[in-house]
Symmetry: C2
């Protein structure tokens, strides 16, 4: 059997499993999740052994220290994975929730009820903990999962998937609920992406290149977690002390993530006062500032920002800064260069804030709070599979409910349409 | 300017319009819709003239009588289009609805609010009334629209779009809110489908070939309205009189539509009694019955159903019939051959009904009612843009709320993450 046929078989098996999963009661699912968490801890030795193999191969291939660190698993990280699975067991089961219910004049009763999406493909890169995180979230929401991890972590991923399957099976996990593509051929992404009969959704987790590839190939819906080119706009009526705290937090607290700020927009009325205090503070925190002409007029040492800067997700301690005439110009800039992820206005003026909140088309729009709060945990969702930058189905942090859809149950007493039999 | 550049310009213009549309108050939108409806009636002469041109060309090209009928517009049909637009004005505006609101322990207040999707592309075939239906629904839900109709109706579509734009503009419709691609080149579908910067969603309305093409090309989400291979399962505990009324209605009342039944499954315990009464009734209604071996054992004149029959959407007075051992076998058959559109169980047994409702993964699952009720109007939505067979974002009838998404508004008092500034 070739790889394509193997993956197609996995698809059919997943589809079959999804029917069992859709009607599995919450307590059963939670017991299975706890067994999987125990399995991860019990299998820690085998997982670490496989991980050493991945790390060795990674070193031979010349992976960067940062990449190797993302790849590495030790006892503490495996316990954290197990803990993550236990936390998913504690979350409310979204499946079966009645979203709406109404009666029609002809006596039909219509119930809109939450159901799993079906079969979800997760395509991801180096971090092996995604194997258990994604499997747990998809399983809890009643979906069958086909996982396709990166080649760097393949040995670790294989053992983690085996452990989850074996421990889950001992507690009643339906066969083929969680499958991992063991091959690392690049073609496996293509084969997954063409199986729209078996796969209801693909979620790519990784860099832009991976997402682009999946988008180009996929025949089924893809929920994308693209760049965050996030802005903080400091209005004329801002509390400038608050503005400085928010800008520094949004830029510096964890610069390598999608909800970190990349661009600061400052109202011209406060630009000089605000920036002459802020820029030295940013510099002492190690931030490189790149500014437009007016910013450089205030602080001569600032590097000139190019057109490319406004459209760049640095994921690093670099901040582009622009002076704007008003909230409208700020919103124009965000519409043009932003990525509809997380944008913030700092102001004490409720009217300006209202315009910004209504007019900025981003997954999360903040008023007087750091963009770093666009996060499933910070929103109180308990966990997330990512932060969607799409505008269909799920936007912003994707928790368990976002891994479900609905169907309509229609109960009648023999109704036929137009009374014609 | 080439066609690609022209369509790309339309995309940028639509994106700009969508920002104005997102904040347009409901009363303004309704006034614009009423003006558009009046415009359609006032422009009826011009529309009919253009339509005659389309019909003439259609006759020359040898379009079938059914196709020509779908294409034809007269005074009554134009009044019905205008009436449809007025009905959309009467519907509640989904934009701005607060879907959820909560406070976090750190004092952040999070509001999940309904917003337009943004820019929607509608690609459709012959019927010119889709031009006004789709434009009205997308506009009311705050979206900018790019319409790409079929070449058969291009003259009609152009005039309808002009009339909507001019009448809308007189009442304050933002420029470029509703745009029609005037060219009929096949490439225009490709150009639309690659513009994922400008277009948030494509909804293809038409045959399987059109949908396939769009799915293959599109880089943005597509909501598909595929086949309905709908089933009626008559259980051992069915009221057989009710079952006959439902089967006849689901098959015969309007056989050319997606929610009409294509396959009847009958429990073996009642098969002989039920089918020996039903089949003559179906035949006298002009239905061709194709059955499995057991059905042919009951009624010898029935044509043998092939494997292909079970997977066919006839859209005609043909019904495939199979005898099954129980509700489980019925559900197996539906999972294997169905299209997850509309499926029905007829039974007085609440346990069997409960298993069927939970276990069948279709947009609408019916108990003792005709599958023909899977429809936006019958559900009480007032209108629909189609019946989605997808499992993401929108499933079943798509009304105004399904043309929206949400964003999160997060209001703070200077909160920063992890207290680090």
């Amino acid at each position: 059997m070739g790889l394509r046929e193997e993956i197609q078989l996995m698809g059919r098996q997943a589809r079959r499993a999804s029917r069992e999963l859709a009607v599995l009661p919450a307590e059963r699912k939670n017991a299975i999740l706890r067994a999987m968490a125990d399995g991860l801890e019990a299998g820690a030795g085998r997982i670490e052994e496989a991980n050493r193999e991945d790390l060795e191969r990674g070193r031979e291939r010349g992976l960067s220290a940062a990449m190797l660190d993302r790849l590495a698993l030790d006892g503490a990280r495996i316990r954290a994975m197990a803990q993550g699975v236990r936390e998913v067991a504690e979350l409310a089961d979204p499946v079966g929730e009645v979203l709406a219910e109404w009666d029609r004049p002809n006596g039909l009763r219509i119930t809109k009820v939450r159901v799993p999406i079906g079969v979800i493909g997760i395509i991801y890169e180096s971090r092996p903990n995604v194997t258990s995180d994604a499997a747990a979230l998809c399983f809890k929401s009643g979906n069958a999962t086909i996982l396709r991890g990166g080649s760097e972590a393949i040995a670790s991923n294989r053992v983690i998937a085996e452990v989850l399957q074996a421990a889950g099976a001992s507690a009643g996990l339906p066969a083929h609920s969680i499958q991992l593509i063991g091959a690392t051929d690049r073609e496996s992404v293509r084969y997954l992406a063409e199986m729209d009969e078996s796969l209801d959704l693909i979620v790519p987790r990784g860099g832009k290149g991976l997402i682009e590839t999946v988008v180009s190939l996929a025949r089924m819906p893809v929920i994308k977690h693209y760049d965050g080119i996030c802005h903080v706009y400091v209005d004329a009526a801002a509390d400038l002390g608050m503005a400085e705290r928010i800008v520094c937090n949004a830029k510096c607290q964890k610069p390598g993530v999608c909800n970190a700020a990349e661009t600061l927009l400052v109202h011209e009325a406060v630009a000089e006062r605000f920036l002459s205090a802020l820029i030295p503070a940013l510099r002492s925190a190690g931030v490189e500032v790149r500014g437009d002409e007016r910013v450089r007029g205030i602080c001569a040492e600032v590097v000139a920002a190019t057109e490319e800067d406004w459209a760049t997700e640095y994921l690093a301690l670099i901040l582009s800064v622009k002076v704007v005439a008003d909230v409208e110009e700020a919103m124009e800039h965000i519409a043009r260069y932003g990525s509809r992820h997380s944008d913030c206005i700092v102001t004490e003026d409720a009217v300006a804030a209202g315009r910004f909140l209504a007019g900025v088309d981003s997954a999360a729009v903040f008023w007087n709070a750091s963009t770093r709060f666009n996060d499933g945990g910070e929103f109180g969702f308990g966990c997330e599979i990512g932060i969607s930058t799409d505008k269909l189905h799920a936007r912003g942090p994707m928790g368990l409910p976002e891994l479900t859809i609905y169907k309509y149950l229609v109960r009648g007493t023999g109704q036929v349409r137009n009374g014609v039999s």
